[in-house]
């Protein structure tokens, strides 16, 4: 950044007020966006961030591997062996990730050894080929939804770290409606999904309302709400009179009735379910909301410059509450896809690491719905591949978290990446995270 940022700091989608080329952003097609992104070096920066994170992750894998370390102990006697071992360890890890998330050649060759297609389908060989992709979609689903839950408020200038609390809110509602009631097939699952949306939205609304009414910073409020909900979940699961399954003492709910399960999309062998479609639909809806409605225009305008928007007659506080409510609802939907799509029960750990992962997804996706889908799929693939990778190569699964955080760290600081790779900045414009907004703003 050679020039000081202008008073209205450009956020992910350029604000209408700060539109430099006079083009109305709402009329821009995907192609235009892509072209702009390339011109601004944004895509180059993301690509280089991915490369850098991959390289660092590979080095980390190689140099914590005992075989490699032993080989490097004899570096001066056999340097080739040492370098070879390091390469093998890093490459093996990434290859195992690929096999677990995209396609595994062994399953493909097994498929072609079958006598006929009919037996292959019947015996599940075809499913085995598509299993990695299915797992990637399953893992990506809650990441996309929670990513949207961070990305949408981000457009309005709010940083929602409360994905975890909103997820728990949605999960409690989804699980409760799912096991405690009996409804007809289609109705039940729809009710549960809507209930989860409401549960998440309630938590989002709370954070937004506190921010709007008192000006308390949403980051602190949402962090505190995360802990409140974490203990609240443990509380409702610790008592038989609340949600713990009768007769059990393992702090989980009764299983969700099968009518409330999200329908599977590709046969009983694959876990991919309608939750993935919900995620894609939600991304589309968020895009539509942001780019085609007055509300979305107000969100982006407030994100760009809250004071100017207020002067222009927008109700900033009401929009904060609104955007947090919708964001919370999206996190609640993520909970629905997990509880009703794969877990079918609620336990004190159901919230996983979605709250934190969501932030990385939203940042890598530059706060845009399409970007969030892409980032969610990428991180979903890493998550899908990591258990198999740990089994095959002994590399701990946490490498995925490291790579994820490194990617986002590089994406967040375009000047750093440009410095490392000597990429010239086409225009002095950073990615959305280079946003110098204060705590008290």
């Amino acid at each position: 950044m050679t020039t000081p940022p202008p008073a209205a700091e450009p956020s992910a989608t350029p604000p209408p007020a700060a539109e430099q080329d006079g083009q109305d952003s709402s009329g821009r097609s995907f192609g235009d966006n892509l072209r702009r992104a390339i011109q601004e070096n944004t895509l180059t920066v993301i690509f280089l961030a991915l490369v850098s994170a991959t390289i660092i992750g590979g080095l980390l894998t190689a140099f914590t591997n005992t075989t490699v370390l032993n080989a490097w102990g004899h570096f001066f006697s056999s340097p080739g062996n040492a370098i070879g071992q390091a390469w093998d360890a890093a490459f093996g890890t990434y290859w195992a990730l690929f096999e677990g998330s995209i396609i595994n050649p062994h399953t493909v060759s097994a498929l072609f050894q079958q006598a006929s297609l009919a037996t292959a389908v019947h015996d599940g060989f075809l499913s085995a080929v598509f299993n990695p992709l299915s797992e990637t979609a399953v893992q990506a689903t809650p990441l996309i939804l929670t990513g949207l839950a961070v990305a949408l408020p981000y457009q309005a200038g709010l940083f929602n770290i409360g994905g975890q609390s909103q997820f728990i809110g949605g999960a409690i509602m989804a699980a409760w409606l799912g096991y405690a009631y009996n409804m007809p097939f289609f109705v039940h699952v729809v009710v549960c999904v809507i209930g989860a949306f409401v549960g998440g939205a309630a938590l989002g609304w709370l954070a937004g309302e506190i921010k709007a009414r008192t000006g308390a910073h949403e980051v602190i409020v949402t962090i505190m709400l995360n802990y409140v909900m974490l203990y609240f979940l443990a509380y409702v699961l610790s008592s038989h009179s609340l949600m713990e399954a009768p007769g059990g003492s393992d702090s989980i709910t009764l299983p969700i009735t099968s009518n409330a399960h999200l329908p599977l999309l590709a046969g009983t062998h694959l876990r991919i379910n309608a939750g993935f479609l919900i995620a894609l639909a939600a991304a589309l809806a968020v895009w539509w909301l942001l780019n085609r409605t007055t509300t979305g225009f107000e969100f982006r305008s407030i994100g760009a410059n809250a004071s100017a928007s207020r002067v222009a007659g927008m109700n900033v506080e009401r929009n904060w509450t609104r955007v947090m409510t919708i964001g919370g609802g999206l996190a609640g939907l993520a909970a629905a896809t997990v509880i009703l799509g794969t877990d079918f029960t609620l336990n004190p750990q159901s919230y996983g690491t979605y709250g934190i992962d969501a932030i990385t997804v939203a940042l890598l996706g530059l706060g845009r719905p399409g970007g969030v889908v892409a980032a969610g799929l990428l991180f979903g693939a890493l998550h899908a591949g990591s258990p198999g990778m740990q089994v095959a190569t002994g590399t701990p699964v946490q490498i995925v978290q490291v790579i994820q955080a490194l990617i986002v760290l590089f994406v967040a600081a375009p000047p750093l990446v440009r410095t490392i790779y000597r990429v010239r900045a086409a225009r002095a414009r950073g990615v959305s995270t280079t946003m110098s907004k204060g705590w008290n703003a």
């Binding site: 950044m1 209205a8 505190m224 995925v400 955080a405 967040a412 907004k437």
Partner: protein, 440 residues
């Protein structure tokens, strides 16, 4: 002035928002009194009515030279008295708002403390009433201090960073990396003090990354802190699994721990001695750091400059303070403190390192800093509130008190939201906090 915050500083143009409704104003003015009434009613209706027998409090740890006699109180009566006094304080606060009585700022704060104190007394009387085991107050207090060490040190780090104008959400990461590095250093070298040093350096390593990205690359500091925490959580988890388990667990993750040190004379004072002066070395480090930060911020040239670059960096720059250099220096120095706090997790208490060992205490430290109004003593006090709840929960569950431990554990977070929301007085952070300085 080229920072975007400049627009936020035009109060004339900005309407206060919808919060100005009559109901909100009424609630705001009487919030404290209403809260007191709630506490008083809980004391009487929940604790008083359900208490039975008498509660015994003991004030003497095991093996103490001087013993203090136990205090036995009738549980129900104690709760009623606490409730009645709390209600009286509520009336006083209400009269204060109406202008009948004038309480000063100091006395208002004293009433807050008194209400909380009475609430705890009533709670303990109810909990221990009818129990055969006496409730050891000294254990509760010294446990509170020990539990709070990482939160206290983390909060002090936050205070220095914030007062310098840098938001530090990476306290969590600093604690975790400090714990990790201290465990490895002590395991390998066998030296506890080397462990403390490595923990401190690890904390400031995180601070270096934070400072470079926040100050040089002007990345949004809230986002940056969260990402750094994720990175360190992943990295330490990865290294733990890759290096510290299996064949290496004895060589890399088996550190010695500090023994409690009793300060001569002071440690023998009844009640106060065992609580404050017979504890881990880390607690004494905390005292020194607290005194240092308080004195430094309030009484030295460094403190004045630090506050200046946090409130109005442009003005500070005009009088010749090197804002950027000073921010780097302060953030990195503060990192040392959080790193020591992290070292407490491993070589101060448990010994071996575990994944996500800090379990969110860095975020609690952040809350404590805001709770404590960005002042060293305030932050320490707030950190102690959090530590006290955790400790109280573990003691109450160990004597089988029928209380929902999860609900008890979530109270400090609710209280923090209430505090941050300004219901108990407005918290105002340093003005330039989180706003990068661009020298023009």
């Amino acid at each position: 002035m080229t920072t975007p915050a400049s627009a936020e500083r035009l109060p004339v143009l900005l309407s206060p928002g919808p919060s100005g409704s009559a109901a909100a104003r009424f609630g705001g003015r009487f919030a404290a009194a209403i809260t007191y009434v709630a506490f008083g009613l809980v004391n009487i209706l929940v604790f008083g009515l359900h208490a039975h027998g008498s509660a015994t409090f003991s004030f003497t740890p095991e093996f103490a030279k001087v013993s203090v006699p136990n205090l036995t109180l009738p549980a129900a009566v104690t709760s009623y008295v606490c409730g009645a006094v709390t209600l009286a304080l509520a009336v006083a606060r209400a009269l204060d708002v109406l202008g009948v009585v004038r309480l000063g700022q100091v006395w208002r704060r004293v009433t807050v403390g008194a209400v909380l104190f009475l609430f705890i007394i009533a709670l303990l009387a109810w909990a221990d009433g009818g129990q055969t085991i006496s409730f050891n107050v000294v254990n509760l207090l010294s446990g509170t201090l020990d539990d709070s060490i990482p939160i206290m040190l983390g909060a002090l780090t936050g205070v220095i960073c914030s007062r310098s104008g840098v938001i530090n959400i990476a306290i969590e990461g600093q604690l975790l990396l400090g714990a990790f590095c201290a465990a490895i250093a002590t395991s390998v070298s066998g030296s506890l003090w080397l462990g403390v040093l490595c923990g401190a350096l690890a904390g400031s390593l995180v601070a270096v990354i934070l400072a470079v990205f926040a100050i040089a690359y002007r990345v949004d500091q809230v986002v940056l802190g969260v990402v750094l925490n994720t990175l360190i959580l992943g990295l330490t988890g990865y290294l733990y699994n890759a290096l510290m388990t299996g064949q290496y667990s004895n060589t890399l993750n088996n550190p010695a721990t500090f023994n409690p040190v009793k300060i001569p004379l002071l440690g023998d004072i009844p009640i106060i001695g065992p609580v404050f002066f017979d504890s881990s070395v880390f607690l004494y480090i905390t005292y020194i750091v607290l005194a240092g930060v308080q004195f430094g911020l309030a009484r030295t040239r460094w403190g004045l400059r630090t506050r200046a670059i946090g409130e109005h960096p442009e003005a500070a720059d005009t009088v010749g303070i090197r804002v950027i250099a000073m921010r780097y220096q302060n953030v990195i120095l503060a990192g040392l403190i959080a790193g020591i706090g992290g070292a407490y997790f491993t070589i101060g208490s448990v010994g071996s390192f575990g994944i996500d060992m800090s379990s969110g205490e860095g975020y609690i430290a952040l809350a404590a800093m805001i709770f404590g109004r960005y002042t060293p003593f305030g932050a320490i006090g707030a950190a102690l509130v959090f530590g006290f709840t955790t400790q109280l929960q573990s003691i109450l569950s160990s004597i089988n008190v029928p209380i929902q431990s999860n609900l008890l554990l979530l109270t400090p977070y609710v209280v923090t939201i209430i505090v941050v929301a300004g219901l108990v007085g407005k918290v105002r952070g340093p003005r330039a906090e989180g706003v990068p300085f661009i020298k023009s």
